[in-house]
């Protein structure tokens, strides 16, 4: 039996799962065990198409869960909406978890039915940009890549012939590659808002690369882990002080870097420039509505305020759609970057929204998506 707050090192007992998983397959095995033992009806997995493409699917097949696994930094999807209305278990980056919690505040997700195994995240990359980066910066054929990893501030790619090539993330980002813009200024790297917070930071010595550091964050996390141990899917051992210290150190370094990017990108907009800035930023919008559709915290459905107050026939210099959304998301935008990713005219929507929301959230010392203790400051919390 594990306890809330325990910090453990663990891995899958099945050698195949352990070898295929990014860090010993613990996350895969925990999710599979939850399905096997009936804790959930389905598990969200990333169905791998290739090294740069995967699609989230919900499966009720334990073997399909066990066959998934492996980190995919070049697949920047958000899994939040797959949790809506379902009794599932899912892996999740900090932004996936934040999305689920914001949904829970609005009764979009029932957290009692949703188990989230959080994954440490230093940032993700756009697949097409990654391919270009591999050719130009790494001089590697993208088709030769068999794995990638972020370690000690470097992005490492492994190729078919067993070679590894590492370049510092700073260098890549200065050249316009590397992590997506929102990931650079993200300040949640260890998903302490999930039921379990897992990752490879702090896994050292002979377990390096073949085990996961796992922190039990709450009662549900304890249930998940106990279930997987009892089912014989995983083995765990307490993490020693050195492992814990290294994990904290990596986290601190990542957060420091995040703060630096935040200072560079989320600068204050002066009052005199504010209107011009927003009008100009949204001027090329083609009204596709994709930014709303993909937003993991939006629960409004078809008849949302942003669309009801907006008409293509309007002659406003800035659309009501964006004005309403800026206000509406100021207490809930988690900066996941999905809206920027899918904007057909490359408007940096996330950064624009974060520049609007950040001062308001900072003033109230409020971080959306971290817990259910505080309601959104512009809304009634239904949960």
């Amino acid at each position: 039996m594990v306890g809330i707050g325990d910090k453990l090192l663990g891995y899958a007992t099945n050698p195949d799962v352990r070898n295929r998983g990014a860090s010993g397959g613990l996350v895969t095995a925990v999710l599979a065990a939850a399905l096997e033992k009936g804790m959930v009806e389905g598990v969200v997995v990333l169905k791998r198409i290739d090294e740069y493409e995967a699609i989230p699917v919900i499966t009720d097949d334990v073997q399909e869960v066990l066959a998934s696994g492996g980190s995919m930094h070049a697949v920047p999807v958000n899994l939040t909406k797959h949790a809506v209305g379902r009794k599932i278990a899912m892996p999740g980056k900090p932004c996936d978890v934040r999305g689920v919690i914001e949904q829970a505040k609005r009764n979009g997700v029932d957290l009692e039915n949703t188990y989230i195994v959080g994954l440490n995240c230093g940032g993700s990359m756009h697949p097409v940009v990654t391919r270009e980066m591999l050719i130009r910066m790494y001089e590697i054929d993208p088709e030769d890549v068999v794995g990638e990893e972020i370690e000690k501030g470097k992005l490492i790619f492994k190729t078919k012939d067993g070679e590894e090539k590492a370049i510092s993330i700073d260098e890549l980002e200065e050249a316009g590659y590397g992590r997506r813009e929102n990931c650079r200024y993200c300040t949640i790297k260890i998903p302490t808002n999930a039921d379990l917070a897992c990752g490879n930071w702090g896994v050292i010595g002979e377990l390096a690369g073949s085990a996961t550091f796992c922190e039990v964050m709450n009662e549900k996390g304890k249930r998940l882990l106990d279930n997987a141990i009892e089912a014989g899917f995983i083995e765990v051992q307490p993490a020693d002080e050195k492992s814990i210290a290294i994990r904290n150190k990596v986290n601190s370094a990542m957060l420091k870097l995040g703060d630096e990017w935040k200072g560079r990108l989320l600068t204050e907009i002066h009052d005199q420039e504010r209107l011009t800035y927003y009008i100009e930023q949204f001027a090329d919008c083609i009204d596709c509505g994709a930014c709303r559709e993909v937003c993991p915290v939006c629960t409004c459905g078809e008849d949302s305020k942003c669309t009801m107050f907006h008409s293509l026939a309007d002659n406003y210099k800035m659309s009501m759609y964006h004005m309403v959304r800026l206000l509406h998301l100021s207490d809930s935008c988690i900066g996941c970057g999905q809206c920027s990713d899918i904007c057909p005219v490359d408007i940096p929507v996330t950064t624009i929204f974060r520049r609007f929301a950040d001062p308001a959230q900072k003033k109230r010392d409020y971080s959306p998506g971290m817990d259910l203790q505080r309601p959104p400051f512009l809304e009634l919390m239904l949960k």
Partner: protein, 486 residues
């Protein structure tokens, strides 16, 4: 909880945006973003975002207006085709290359050709045809000067990001279309005689489109401009596989435009129309007139993957699987081969059965795909071809009258999909002269009738009214109208 996911291409226009279609256990369809697609990086326009609606109406096979099995429909089609007189076959490019090839096989059996509905191929010298093929969209980003004869925001929205990249890279962008574009440095309403003022050279790119209602004179003028200045020219196309359908055509000069086909039907010269995923009621500007013409046919036979106005009135409908489930390929506007992950071949199988019923040989998907490779693959690479045509003369069609209502053809208009584009665009001079009230309506009168529309103010030429949706008062792509405030 099982879901089925298909990797496919958006049928909205010829850009060929990649996406996923997710079929849920209850049969409903939703979209997901294919971020690794090099064409669009997972991004979709307003039409792409509304694909679940587009795919919500699968076709049903019908024989003499009554729902039937596909085999019965195929036999009924064969019976009608065997006894038909002059047959016109139309496939505008709304389906896979393989189905288009299969349709072409049927045309050979029936002793006719497949038309793609785009008239410029018939009206331009054949040495111009290679220059109507698209160029790699990424090359637009590196142009020094770009002249637009389209409205990318409305007609080909995923082109906007390419143009914005070009602008960031230092390109000077000129809109020579009918509407002021935010991304353009200059918005100029130029007559062809003034094109020299554009000062284009070999580092310039001209972007226009060819579609079923393109005036060939306009295309000739643009080809002349490219020839005289050395600028590259890129033609966008309106349907998912327009590029493929036109590249696959054996006898481009023999292909009729859709208006020509409808004229022949009106005159009674064509009595049988055989369609592959092409709906004249959607594609023609005046649906009422088109419906009247189609009533004169002896045989209207439709192979279709979705329910559309034409499937309501056809004698025979042979239903096939939705486009996203089809096994097959498409060629996008830049000449890239795109492939579906779907594996269904009901469309090919139905055409094979029809071929046998008509006394010819049947065929399989792999033969159609093999033919595509033989015929097409070597031509897919898009080198910068040197023009082999000469300067062409033409006399543009003059539009007289106080006001012209002009269609701004776009994916919603081609596919008859609902959208919130229920307004017309007109300029401030017209608002002032008619004393239009903010939020009010404008009345449009044509020889066909009268209707009220909301309006939006844009910088369009005096006397021009643009619409992005089909209107009942329209008699063609340009309609003379009288306008009043109301």
């Amino acid at each position: 909880m099982k879901e089925t996911i298909y990797q496919t291409v958006c049928p909205g226009c010829g850009i060929g945006c990649g996406l996923y279609i997710r079929e849920n256990g209850n049969g409903s369809v939703s979209i997901d973003f294919l971020k690794s697609s090099p064409v669009n990086l997972g991004k979709l326009c307003r039409f792409g975002m509304k694909l679940p609606y587009y795919y919500s109406r699968p076709a049903s096979s019908k024989t003499e207006g009554v729902v039937s099995g596909a085999e019965e429909a195929v036999k009924a089609a064969a019976s009608r085709l065997k006894n038909a007189g002059k047959i016109a076959m139309l496939s505008a490019g709304n389906t896979t290359c393989e189905e288009h090839i299969a349709f072409t096989r049927l045309a050979e059996t029936l002793g006719t050709v497949v038309h793609t509905g785009i008239p410029v191929y018939q009206e331009l010298p054949s040495e111009c045809h290679p220059h109507l093929e698209g160029m790699p969209l990424a090359e637009i980003e590196n142009a020094e000067k770009i002249v637009l004869f389209i409205d990318p925001y409305v007609q080909y929205p995923l082109l906007v990001r390419r143009l914005l990249v070009a602008r960031r890279n230092g390109a000077h962008i000129i809109s020579a279309g009918t509407k002021e574009l935010h991304l353009a440095h200059e918005n100029r309403d130029l007559s062809p005689e003034q094109y020299a003022e554009l000062e284009l050279d070999s580092n310039s790119v001209i972007i226009a489109d060819v579609h079923p209602h393109t005036e060939s004179c306009h295309t000739k003028q643009l080809l002349n401009l490219a020839l005289e200045t050395g600028a590259r020219i890129h033609f966008m196309k309106p349907f998912i596989n327009s590029e493929g359908a036109n590249r696959l055509a054996r006898d481009k000069a023999g292909m009729m435009g859709i208006s020509h086909i409808m004229d022949e039907i009106e005159k009674g010269d064509i009595k049988t129309l055989f369609l592959l995923d092409s709906d004249p009621l959607e594609m023609m500007p005046d649906s009422d007139r088109t419906a009247n013409a189609l009533n004169k046919l002896d045989n209207l036979i439709v192979i279709s993957s979705r329910d559309s106005p034409i499937t309501e009135i056809a004698n025979v409908v042979i239903a096939t699987e939705p486009l996203y489930r089809k096994r097959g390929t498409f060629i996008n506007a830049e000449g890239k081969l795109r492939e579906n992950s779907g594996q269904e071949v009901a469309g090919i199988d139905a055409m094979s059965l029809l071929s046998r019923e008509l006394g010819s040989e049947g065929f399989e998907y792999r033969q159609m795909h093999g033919y595509l490779h033989e015929r097409m693959i070597e031509t897919l690479a898009n080198e910068n071809r040197k023009p082999e045509y000469g300067i062409m003369q033409c006399a543009p069609v003059q539009h007289n009258g106080a006001c012209i209502l002009k269609y701004l053809f776009n994916p919603f208009m081609w596919a008859n999909q609902p959208d919130d584009n229920d307004f017309v665009l007109l300029n401030m001079n017209m608002v002032r002269s008619l004393k239009l009230r903010k939020g009010g309506m404008v009345r449009l009168d044509s020889e066909k009738g009268s209707m009220k529309m909301r309006y939006r103010v844009e910088r369009v030429p005096d006397g021009m009214i643009l619409t992005a949706r089909k209107l009942q008062v329209a008699t063609g792509t340009n309609t003379t109208v009288k306008v009043e405030g109301c």
